[in-house]
């Protein structure tokens, strides 16, 4: 690449190669440095690269969530950005990436700058802030050697261990009791809504749901609380005439979920829908967890700010292999106050990697275990639907009737509109007609959809992506 030589010259002149001293200076405190040392390991990283001009580096780091964090830095001034919600600047992931680079722990493969790095470059306000931060003497002493030193293994006292286990068990019981009490309150609340009339409930859903959600939070049923907080917006998305039906379906699912919890309070899947999800570590260390190595296509990313102040980030993946769960969902939450997060994946991109699924009768929610370095992807077609559409719509509800979102792979079909302006997906054989959740226009309506990946939710279809004679196109939501 002759055209980048001048740039390389100037970079070498100014000495873009960084050393660990710079990492040390950049760190806000010793604990950041310590954490970065832990991340400066090849296993934590994927997609590590450097721009052809040698100035920008980037990589993806496995964090505590399902989605990895995208980390990027400009070696000329050590300006940096990470998609993690940390309030520390720079965060441990940035320090880790710089550490990898300084010590050449992994090869940084020269490549075209990815669009997400370019986007960040375009949004940067200036270089002065990064410079002054790195020049400023840090308030606290930081020490690389101390950061590197591994904690000595402390031999566990068997008595301590037993005591801690006992405490944990007690806490577990208390939590369970609190949840059961909260579920009693929930069922009573549901009964009240029926007695007072669903017409009134629909009109006043936001306030009423807020009240019972608060009670559920107190009762340690946080996931269920979040779900109920979002119930009104799902209802309002329906046409006025369809809301009583929608309310019955939503409230009916809550009754089923409450009963399922009473029947099996320790069931991981039910617990995940009511109280809290397992931590990343729990899933990773679960020997029964389904691990699937495959080629994946990123269908779409949905980012939604919820009423409880959390932002949910959902990445939908399509398994391009012949067998195994057809879809995977990477789900993370972070506080809205952490600001807007960059996307982790680009819709349409494909990668090879290992996903670890949360335990479930129908595995869907997953963690990204490993993402292999960019390699030549085989030109895989989207697979055929695994089952008839009618079955795909209902089967998940027979196993987990409280499920809200069902991902679907639809056969050849096309969009059409009725006189009222409602858009429908219709299968090429004319046997299935499904209503779309929102109006779509443009290309989606003007071409054959040879395959469609969509979410079936509340008896409405939301298209994530489709294969067409024009190639792969995204949904318009």
């Amino acid at each position: 690449m002759p055209d980048i030589l001048p740039a390389l010259d100037s970079i070498w002149e100014t000495g873009v190669a960084i050393d660990l001293k710079a990492v040390e200076q950049l760190a806000t405190d010793q604990s950041s440095l310590k954490a970065a040392a832990g991340l400066a390991k090849p296993a934590k990283w994927s997609g590590v690269g450097v721009s052809l001009d040698g100035a920008l580096i980037w990589g993806e780091c496995a964090g505590s969530g399902a989605n990895p964090y995208r980390v990027m830095a400009d070696l000329r001034d050590l300006g940096n950005k990470c998609t993690c919600p940390s309030r520390k600047f720079p965060c441990k992931h940035v320090l880790g990436l710089l550490w990898l680079n300084a010590e050449a722990i992994v090869p940084f493969i020269p490549a075209d700058t990815p669009a997400w790095v370019s986007d960040w470059l375009g949004r940067r306000r200036g270089t002065s802030a990064a410079r002054s931060a790195s020049d400023a003497p840090s308030a606290t002493e930081k020490d690389l050697r101390a950061a590197r030193a591994s904690e000595p293994e402390v031999a566990e006292d068997p008595k301590d261990l037993a005591r801690r286990e006992a405490q944990a068990a007690k806490r577990g019981e208390e939590t369970e009791r609190a949840i059961l009490d909260a579920l009693d309150a929930l069922e009573q609340w549901i009964g009240d809504q029926l007695r007072m009339g669903l017409a009134g409930f629909i009109d006043d859903a936001t306030a009423r749901c807020r009240r019972i959600a608060a009670r559920l939070v107190d009762g340690k049923a946080a996931v269920l609380a979040g779900r109920i907080d979002e119930l009104p917006s799902r209802l309002l998305a329906l046409s006025a005439g369809d809301r009583p039906r929608g309310a019955v379906v939503e409230l009916g699912k809550l009754v089923l979920l409450a009963r399922a919890f009473r029947a099996a309070p320790r069931d991981a899947e039910v617990r995940r829908a009511v109280a809290a999800s397992e931590t990343r570590e729990t899933v990773l260390s679960d020997p029964r967890a389904l691990r699937l190595e495959a080629h994946w296509e990123v269908l779409a990313e949905q980012v939604q700010t919820r009423r409880d102040g959390l932002v949910s980030q959902t990445t939908w993946l399509l398994n391009l292999a012949a067998a195994g769960p057809r879809f995977a969902m990477l789900l993370d939450f972070f506080p809205a106050s952490a600001g807007r997060r960059g996307s982790v994946f680009t819709p349409g991109e494909r990668f090879h990697g290992e996903l670890i699924f949360y335990q479930s009768a129908q595995p869907l929610r997953a963690l990204l275990g490993r993402r292999d370095a960019t390699q030549a992807m085989p030109a895989l077609e989207w697979p055929l639907p695994d089952e008839p559409t009618a079955e795909a719509l209902t089967r998940p509800l027979l196993a987990e009737p409280w499920t809200i979102d069902i991902p679907l792979l639809l056969p050849q079909g096309r969009l059409a509109r009725d006189d009222a302006g409602q858009t429908w997906w219709r299968s090429a054989d004319g046997l299935t007609t499904l209503p779309l959740a929102s109006e779509v226009d443009g290309l989606l309506c003007g071409t054959e959809l040879t395959r469609t990946a969509a979410i079936w939710s509340g008896n409405r279809l939301a298209i994530l992506a489709a294969q067409t004679p024009w190639g792969r196109i995204g949904g318009h939501d």
Binding site: D3, I4, P6, A7, S10, S51, D53, A55, D112, T113, A115, S118, L121, G122, R124, R125, G126, E187, I190, G191, L194, M196, G197, L198, A199, G200, D242, P244, R245, V248, E250, G252, K253, V255, L256, R259, T394, L397, L398, P401, R414, L415, A416, R417, D418, D419, Q422, W424, T433, P435, D441, G442, C445, G446, T447, N459, W470, G471, I473, G474
Partner: protein
């Protein structure tokens, strides 16, 4: 069938779906009003139990599951399927470059940026992928190559039955078979090939169109305008219902030297100017503006310019239009210069526009060149942009207004604007978002080869290859220029 067997059948949940379905209406109605619904679902009596509160909750769970799994909405009317989005006469841009185009379309919100990009691509022989961008039905300023997409959008927005799209040559008879955008393109094409036939078709169908459509269709006559059009135009200028259409017809007539006999006004306007002679032999004529003494005078002069055409004005001064342009004392009275240039742009013939653009460019009046640029052919626009870049040191953004989107300048970065840009980018306090518009404009006016060279020079100035400010240049450098070859 005995009663026992019936009970068994119910117990084994062999209940007809229709029975449940029929009951759901009553169940929903009861709950909506706040009354107990279990009595309306007697077939589930055993499952619901005897406790009324518990029965309602159980019914809710069952009914919810039933409604969620077994009841699908059905369309209330026949479904209308839109036709396929047509393939365009030019190929879709390469897949690998679509992310660049998408980013340009997404980050720049102004309509001009979008319109510039699609025009640029069309000039290079490419079109946008329909999932990245599609025109609206009324996007009149998009390239003609998108006509069938505009008509598709019009079809999508209308509830009428689809027209028979035809590929035949436009005639009076098949006029109604064409969608508006395709019809406009077909008429323009006919006009280029056979001006009289195009006028004849337009003449026959003109009255049936709306004022906006009449105005747009009439403007197509500016191509290959000739005396043969006079009587048609005179009819419109005299009788059309819409003032806008009348004014356009008048303006076209003026280009033919058949402006309205604005005798008094033309004489009054001419009175604001004097034709003098200069030079050793007093043979060179010069038109000079008389000094204006009051604001009222300047307003009056402006108003007179707005209502006149070039031929009448020059005639009142005893000059032919080209003589007036040659003799004009450019630079002495800028409002007068601007008014004359507007007059030429609106009512001058093509050769007069070219002459005027050369004249104002010679006087360094870049702003006035911009006013005339729309009526110049692409090669002329490129020539003026290049000249202004080198001689006047104008910025790329301004040069782009002159050059349009089909210029292909070879080395604009070596012009003063380029040197200034490189110097600014090298400054220590340069910010990552500085000069984005300048770099974007550069990307639009430069040739493919020039874009490659510019990228080299800019990375020499410290810009990174992945810098989004370079998107337009990178797109240009990577895109095969098929327009130049044809």
């Amino acid at each position: 069938m005995t009663e026992t067997i019936m009970t068994e059948a119910i117990k084994t949940e062999a209940i007809k779906t229709e029975m449940i379905f029929d009951a759901m209406g009553a169940v929903l109605a009861r709950w909506t009003m706040g009354s107990a619904a279990a009595p309306a679902a007697s077939f589930w009596r055993t499952d619901l139990g005897d406790d009324p509160t518990e029965a309602e909750l159980r019914l809710l769970a069952l009914a919810g599951q039933f409604l969620g799994t077994s009841v699908l909405m059905e369309p209330s009317s026949a479904l209308r399927i839109l036709p396929d989005i047509p393939l365009l006469p030019l190929p879709t841009m390469p897949e690998t470059l679509r992310p660049l185009a998408r980013r340009i379309l997404a980050t720049k919100k102004q309509a001009k940026v979008k319109s510039d990009l699609v025009h640029f691509l069309a000039a290079r022989g490419w079109t946008v992928h329909p999932s990245d961008w599609m025109p609206e039905a009324d996007d009149d300023d998009v390239p003609d190559v998108y006509a069938s997409w505009r008509d598709w959008a019009a079809n999508a927005a209308s509830s009428s039955v689809a027209r028979q799209q035809t590929d035949d040559r436009l005639t009076t008879d098949n006029w109604g078979d064409f969608w508006p955008a395709a019809r406009k393109v077909a008429l323009a094409e006919l006009r280029r090939r056979d001006p009289s036939a195009a006028r004849a078709v337009l003449e026959a169908r003109f009255a049936g169109e709306t004022a906006d459509a009449r105005w747009r269709l009439l403007s197509l006559l500016s191509e290959r305008l000739s005396d043969d059009d006079t009587s048609f135009l005179e009819g419109i200028a005299a009788n059309d219902r819409a003032p806008k259409v009348k004014a356009l017809a008048t303006s076209l007539l003026s280009r033919l030297g058949r402006g309205p006999a604005a005798g008094e006004d033309a004489a009054e306007l001419a009175g604001f100017f004097a034709v003098k002679t200069k030079g050793l032999l007093r043979r060179v004529r010069v038109v000079q503006a008389e000094p204006l003494k009051t604001a009222a005078q300047s307003l009056r002069r402006k108003a007179l310019f707005d209502g006149i055409d070039l031929a009448s004005f020059s005639g009142a001064l005893g000059l032919a239009p080209q003589e007036l342009i040659a003799a004009w004392d450019w630079g002495a009275d800028q409002p007068a210069d601007a008014a004359l240039v507007e007059l030429i742009a609106a009512t001058g013939a093509d050769e007069q526009v070219t002459q005027a653009a050369d004249a104002v460019a010679d006087h360094g009046a870049t702003g006035l060149v911009i006013s005339l640029a729309m009526r110049l052919v692409p090669a002329e626009r490129a020539r003026h942009a290049e000249a202004a870049l080198n001689a006047q040191g104008i910025r790329f953004e301004l040069a782009q207004l002159i050059a349009g989107t089909a210029a292909r300048l070879q080395g604009p970065l070596s012009a003063p604007a380029g040197n200034a840009l490189l110097a600014a980018l090298r400054r220590d306090d340069a910010k990552p978002s500085d000069h984005a518009e300048e770099l974007h404009a550069l990307g639009l006016i430069v040739s493919r080869e020039g874009a490659r060279r510019s990228l080299e020079q800019l990375s020499g100035a410290g810009l990174l290859q992945g810098d989004p400010r370079l998107d337009m240049l990178r797109l240009n450098a990577a895109l095969d220029d098929k327009g130049a070859r044809s």
